[in-house]
């Protein structure tokens, strides 16, 4: 490889730290919100948002592969399956 190679673009360390801390706080808050949301449909929506936050966190952890999985599974596939399950068990009062 010669000098023509583009040097990888890296985010300055301080900025990366700030970003990671922010997303980590959001993830911790997201997990808490998922657990404390007792209404099912709303909980699935919160879970979906939590999945997206996790995906962003993994992006800042330099794991694009896991990001993609967290998005497809955590933010799409699981909510679909969960919503189906909820619609199946929904009580009459709604």
């Amino acid at each position: 490889m010669t000098g023509a190679v583009v040097t990888p673009y890296t985010v300055p360390a301080g900025l990366m730290d700030t970003l990671q801390v922010t997303v980590l706080i959001l993830v911790a808050a997201g997990a808490t919100a998922v657990v404390l949301t007792r209404r099912l449909v709303r909980q699935v929506l919160v879970l979906s948002v939590y999945g997206i936050m996790l995906a962003v966190l993994f992006l800042t952890f330099q794991a694009p592969d896991v990001t993609l999985s967290a998005l497809t599974v955590g933010a799409v596939a699981l909510p679909i399956v969960l919503l189906l399950a909820i619609s199946k068990t929904r009580k009459k009062e709604e």
Partner: protein, 114 residues
Amino acid sequence: MQVFPFIVVAWIIGVGLYGIATSRNLIHQIVCLIVVQSSTYVLLLGVGYVTGAVAPYFYDVPVHTPAVDPVVQALALTDVVVEAAVTALLLAIAIQAHKRFGTLDPHELAEFKG
């Protein structure tokens, strides 16, 4: 910053376990189980992180650029699949439970213990 991600990991697992222990609805409980497991992704990727390193893909960067640990990422991927599989199966069982007993409350279900 040295320890903050790990504190978040402990927080997530604690919160998730709290949810499982206090939940009055099976589907809610299963979602809390997802939260417990999500703490392991954060931990796995957290321990494999290297400050200032790139993602382990060398499509457009030179091969020997310092990169973060690819192994934990592979483990986390496996973990995600396991989570999806277990969740789907648990939901199926929960649906059956609801169909049989008309409730998703673990306390009421316990009455039907075999």
